[in-house]
């Protein structure tokens, strides 16, 4: 293994630790959970009136 490869692996380990900590923080954050629910509801909302609109072009 070259020195560069070893450095990259070490660096990637550091980056992974950051991400795993970030996702752990996110799951423990009540505000984040609330925002997730709101966004999820917004994206899946389909109005009755829109359902009956016709694609006519």
């Amino acid at each position: 293994m070259s020195l560069n490869e070893a450095k990259r692996m070490e660096y990637h380990t550091l980056l992974r630790q950051k991400i795993l900590r970030a996702t752990e923080n996110m799951r423990e954050n009540q505000e984040a959970q609330k925002r997730k629910e709101e966004l999820s509801a917004e994206l899946s909302k389909l109005r009755e009136s829109d359902l009956r609109k016709t694609c006519t072009i």
């Binding site: 984040a32 016709t54 006519t56």
Partner: protein, 444 residues
């Protein structure tokens, strides 16, 4: 007098007609450097045959059950060479034709209101993947055609123009989408008239035939009739186009087309239109900068740019604005044809993804040694086969364990890269009700 099979590119327009779609395809073929075409007369096209049987055969006017199929090639050859090959007197032309095949267009014996022939099933090669420092990503699968015994293949997504007798935009959009997923989901291919009939089992105020359009509800019913499901993504309230771009990248990665429900506005009038996403282009930073769509009123792989300067891909700039004079073209909903086992909905995994980005950026901003602008986080959908195949060629930790682990058929992956080098995949169960991490795949 020998039979005439081969024609030069000067004849393309006369075969394809003067409809908007015919002219678009002629220009597209010239851009692909098409030099010759071979015309198959009296070709039986399965989709048209079913439309003919259910609708046109009972018309007063005598309409042919045959179509013309035109094959295009990016290499010059003569009619004499072609006839010699058919007689078994030319050994080299078959390989040349296979190598330079650009695809085919079926021309139906039905005329539109201007008297131009309708374009039927069309499978044309895409533009090259690399465009300078940008990349085009297309949905495509191998489409086979046999021309007088020669096996030809082209990678494409089937296209056809609308036929107001049996199919308006929504029917054609469903036809393209279902053709694209038929192999992935193992569902049968259905013709436009069958799609219209399945959709119309749910009543609406519109007549079924001639076809004046389907409601969003009818489109969903059609997918459910084939034991699929539909996921509808509402982006009307999204201030930016990030949900749209994420859905395009994620679903395209798994070979799944999105059906766009668009609102077209001209002065005070508006109407809905349906088209299918068939690709996109990314810049150096892997951001989506344009879309490719199959629009039954324009043509295949039609380029869509965002309205500038907002650079928002919910608002489109293409022929509807530039040529047909509409003021505004906006995506309101996206319909995704879903296999019933894909239970983890886009809205749930997208919300997880958004909060992951937020939290990861906070972590990176806290560390002075890290530049959060170099952090790239993508959301991708995979089948188990395509994901393991991709990992097989990558350098990852615990490779044997990861490759041999039992995983569900569909996987959502949040991929983390820094300075364009991937270092982590968070793998979610695509068949679960809520986002559940199955594996963290670490890259060297």
């Amino acid at each position: 007098m020998p039979k005439k099979y081969v024609y030069s590119n000067r004849k393309f327009k006369s075969f394809l007609g003067n409809s908007r779609q015919g002219r678009y395809i002629s220009d597209y073929l010239i851009a692909l450097n098409a030099k010759r075409c071979v015309v198959e007369n009296e070709y039986i096209d399965k989709d048209y045959t079913i439309d003919f049987q259910r609708y046109y055969s009972r018309a007063h006017k005598i309409i042919s059950k045959y179509t013309h199929r035109i094959h295009f090639f990016s290499k010059s050859f003569s009619n004499k060479d072609f006839i010699e090959m058919l007689k078994g007197e030319n050994d080299t032309l078959e390989d040349v034709l296979k190598k330079h095949y650009l695809g085919f267009v079926v021309v139906k014996p039905i005329l539109d209101f201007n008297g131009d022939p309708l374009i039927g099933r069309t499978c044309l090669k895409t533009y090259p993947k690399i465009d300078g420092n940008m990349e085009r990503h297309y949905l495509s699968s191998e489409q086979k055609a046999t021309l007088y015994g020669i096996q030809l293949t082209v990678k494409s997504v089937p296209y056809q123009a609308q036929d107001r007798g049996v199919s308006a935009c929504a029917t054609v959009a469903l036809w393209t989408a279902l053709n694209t997923v038929s192999r992935l989901y193992d569902v049968r291919k259905v013709s436009p008239v069958e799609i219209t009939e399945m959709s119309s089992t749910y009543p609406s105020r519109n007549r079924i035939f001639p076809q004046n359009g389907l409601t969003i509800e009818q489109m969903i019913i059609c997918l459910r009739s084939l034991s699929l499901d539909a996921e509808v993504i509402n982006i009307t309230r999204q201030n930016n186009d990030f949900a749209l771009k994420t859905a395009v990248k994620a679903y395209s990665n798994a070979g799944i087309p999105l059906i766009y429900i668009l609102e077209l506005i001209m002065q005070r009038n508006s109407a809905l239109h349906a088209t299918v996403n068939t690709g996109y282009k990314t810049d150096v930073a892997r951001n989506i900068i344009e879309l490719y769509i199959h629009d039954d009123q324009i043509g295949p792989y039609n380029k869509v740019l965002p309205i500038m300067p907002a650079n928002n891909l919910r608002y489109w700039d293409n022929e509807w604005i530039r040529v047909m004079g509409y003021n505004n073209l906006r995506v309101d909903y996206i319909i995704v044809p879903i296999y019933h086992k894909m239970r983890l909905e886009f809205n749930k995994i997208f919300s997880e993804y958004i909060e992951t980005i937020r939290s990861a950026n906070e972590q990176f901003q806290e560390d002075a040694n890290l530049d959060d602008t170099l952090l790239d986080i993508e959301l991708l959908l995979y089948t188990i086969q395509s994901y393991k195949n991709e990992l097989f060629n990558k350098q990852i930790y615990n490779k044997e364990d990861v490759l041999t682990k039992t995983l569900p058929r569909f996987l959502w992956v949040i991929r983390f890269s820094y300075n364009q080098q991937t270092f982590l995949d968070q793998v979610f169960d695509g068949t679960a009700t809520y986002p559940t991490i199955l594996e963290n795949v670490s890259y060297y």
